[in-house]
Amino acid sequence: MTLFRGRRILAGAMTLVAAAALAACGSKTTDANTSAGVTADVSGDTVKVGLLNSLSGTMAISEVTVRDSIMLAIEEINAAGGVLGKKVQPVGEDGASDWPTFAEKAEKLIREDRVAAVFGCWTSASRKAVKPVFEKNKALLFYPVQYEGLEQSPYIFYTGATTNQQIVPGLDYLKAQGAKSLYLVGSDYVFPRTANKIIKAYAEANGMTVLGEDYAPLGSTEFGTITNKVKSAGADAVFNTLNGDSNVAFFKEYKSAGLTATSMPVVSVSIAEEEVKSIGTQYLEGQLTAWNYYQTTPGAANEKFVAAYKAKYGADKPTSDPMEAAYVSVYLWKAMVEKAGAFDVEKVREASDGITFEAPEGLVTVDGATQHIAKTARVGKVGADGLITEVWNSGDPITPDPYLKSYPWAGGLS
């Protein structure tokens, strides 16, 4: 009896599924792309923009500062009259350091709130998760963090550095300093693994040897073995792509193993002013970083940015590269919209090429072909006060080359 009943219910369910599947048959993958995208709601006297950052989870400590500087830019823009006469209204969502959540929230911002653009994301994994959402809905994302390159979505503007604006100049600097061997340490995720692939290709072409390559899981604090390996390898420099808390443990071990910035300098690409503060200046003093912006970068635009940020969020709050790139991204969007004369995504994209902005880091120019921006590379040294001072820069802004096409040694990478 029970067996029979169970089967009948099962059969009923299966019929429902089949009926539903037959009743609802949409377009095939072979059809031309039919999705029209979602148009932003700009009918009122405000225009909504989305802020998609992790406000909880492991990435919150970094991403909250990015959101703060986006908010600062929006406030400034509103105080100056808004964009095309409309006030900018921010809609915040929490990505929760969880990549599928980023995708869900991106979709919510685009389809429910109908925002004109979204600013945010930090990790490459979160960007990879939202990329199809923005492409499907034909909506815009402004991504403010340096990343591993090898990407060029028509619906993302990359305002942080790609590899030829950060990692490659960092390597050029080390080579000029006479470094002949490197040791690579990184967190175990996409950015460090891809970055190290590029570094190894560079080293091979430039007569440098890579003596070792080690990865620690994100959030790992176990660095005794790795520092011992680094020490016994005796490389001229260490290239560090560790992210987050792991840096604290790594640099403590590094110091206690007797390694110093003079005996074996470490070049970091994920340590900015905010991280220096949390790791502890005593562990980092004299070590090198590669970025496009430091709080100490000279210029009137930066003085204004730093002063405004401190006035809003507190005098002890430092400004950093990703924060600056996020701040700049809002202004670039505004300039694109004003040049296009509309909030329409396709018109904004068309208008993007050649847009310039006097940013805190210096003049930046949008490259319409790659949707990246030309930026000046800067190598800096951590000082005793926790601030980073520039020791070298590339002079002129470097044209973005996300696929490293203009570098012969990178031929096999993409």
Binding site: M1, T2, L3, R5, G6, I9, L10, G12, A13, M14, L16, V17, A20, A21, A24, C25, G26, S27, K28, T29, T30, N33, T34, S35, L55, S56, G92, E93, D94, A96, D98, W99, P100, T101, A103, E104, K105, E107, K108, R111, E112, T123, S124, A125, K128, A129, K131, P132, V133, L150, D188, Y189, V190, R193, T194, K197, Y215, P217, L218, S414
Partner: protein
């Protein structure tokens, strides 16, 4: 046999299980059919009418989590196995499906986009190849997790590993799988996972109509799984499973092999998690290590605990409620929602140890002055009569 079966949900109810029957088997069956029809009406008619495309796709995602919860309800609620590593099976199903869809997107003879980016491989790795065929990939989404659960379960249950040790083992497996996936970036997509899935067996997933179709498939399969689970719970096997949970040694002395009884529930739960993972992929468009590690595995169990683990519908309602609350709270209070969610869990665990499902029993007791037993007791009583 039947009177051995007592579980936390019935313990809340002071009425002894065998007493004046309130509902005969026919009425009971009618209720089940009516409940089933109501669920179907809600999922197939009401939800698509009142929800926007975006909200409906979120519901599809919640229902996938609910499928995992149904399995955990069986393994944990009925079988007493705290399966804290269901993310592994969810992931196996999800990756099997995503691998097939990625290969289908790339077209025959081509490699998925991320492999060319990170892997620098000349050709598709051997272990990816079978997934090009839907005749391999589709059964694999269910059979692969079941096979892994079978091997693991055989080893563990025969050695009489249970309780906290079993839970820790499940967690270790989830952690190991995440480390494995992240380390093999070139062939698994690393932390990014498999993203950017365009089509579902030839249908363009960007099209809202097709998204709706995916939702209907998910809703239908969830109902089917519920029917299957109800059938399992009511069968002699279901009684035996509860008996093993409450007195494993006694069952052994009665001549049954508790290891086999547990293994069946564990393998079925793994299959459900695998199916859920496979359906999650077209619904959400991503599968990544972030969805299958220790934290998501615990979150699956939290949903079940909140709903009421020993009941049929409790885990489903709990899973959907927790996922919905997560979305709703985080949209309304992006800065503080995690605290609110934590508070919600504490409140449920402290005041409703039987989960949301025990609310029904509580309300009934309040109105009837404790005369009528809760639904679970009636359910059991009907079996006493039938047996």
């Amino acid at each position: 046999m039947t009177t051995v079966a007592r579980d936390p949900a019935t313990d809340v109810d002071p009425t002894p299980p065998v007493e004046k029957p309130a509902a005969g088997p026919s009425r009971h069956r009618f209720r089940a059919a009516a409940g089933f029809a109501l669920g179907a009406a809600l999922l197939f008619a009401v939800a698509p009418l009142v929800l926007s495309d975006f909200r409906l796709s979120l519901l599809a995602k919640y229902l996938c989590v609910a499928m995992v919860a149904v399995g955990i309800g069986l393994a944990w609620g009925r079988g007493g196995m705290l399966a804290l590593g269901q993310g592994v099976f969810f992931g196996l199903g999800g990756y099997a499906m995503a691998m097939h869809l990625k290969l289908a997107d790339a077209g025959p003879g081509n490699m998925p986009d991320f492999m060319m980016l990170y892997g620098q491989l000349d050709e598709l790795p051997l272990w990816w190849r079978p997934f090009a065929s839907p005749w391999f990939a589709l059964p694999a989404t269910v059979l692969l997790p079941m096979a892994v659960a079978f091997v693991l379960g055989s080893l563990v249950f025969r050695r009489r590993v249970r309780g906290a040790y079993f839970a820790i083992l499940s967690q270790a497996l989830a952690a190991a799988m995440v480390i494995l996936l992240i380390g093999q970036q070139g062939t698994t997509g690393g932390t990014n996972g498999l993203t950017d899935i365009q089509g579902f067996f030839g249908y363009d997933l960007d099209d809202p109509v097709n998204q709706r179709m995916v939702y209907f498939i998910i809703a239908g399969i969830l109902l089917a799984l519920l029917a299957l689970t109800r059938h399992l719970m009511q069968s002699r096997y279901g009684e035996l499973l509860v008996a093993v949970r409450d007195g494993e040694e006694r069952v052994r002395f009665l001549g049954y092999d508790p290891a086999t009884v547990k293994l069946v529930a564990y393998v079925v739960a793994a299959g459900m998690a695998g199916l859920a993972g496979a359906l999650f992929v077209p619904a959400v468009g991503i599968i990544s290590p972030a969805l299958i590690g220790i934290v998501p595995s615990i979150e699956f169990v939290i949903g079940v605990a909140v709903g009421g683990r020993a009941t049929l519908l409790g885990p489903v309602l709990g899973a959907v409620a927790v996922a919905w609350a997560r979305t709703a709270l985080s949209e309304r209070f992006p800065g503080t929602w995690t605290y609110l969610q934590g508070l919600l869990f504490v409140v449920v665990v402290a005041f409703l140890p039987g989960g949301l499902a025990s609310l029904v029993g509580l309300a009934r007791r309040r109105t009837d002055g404790g005369r009528r037993p809760g639904p679970l007791v009636r359910l059991r009583r009907s079996r006493v009569e039938a047996g």
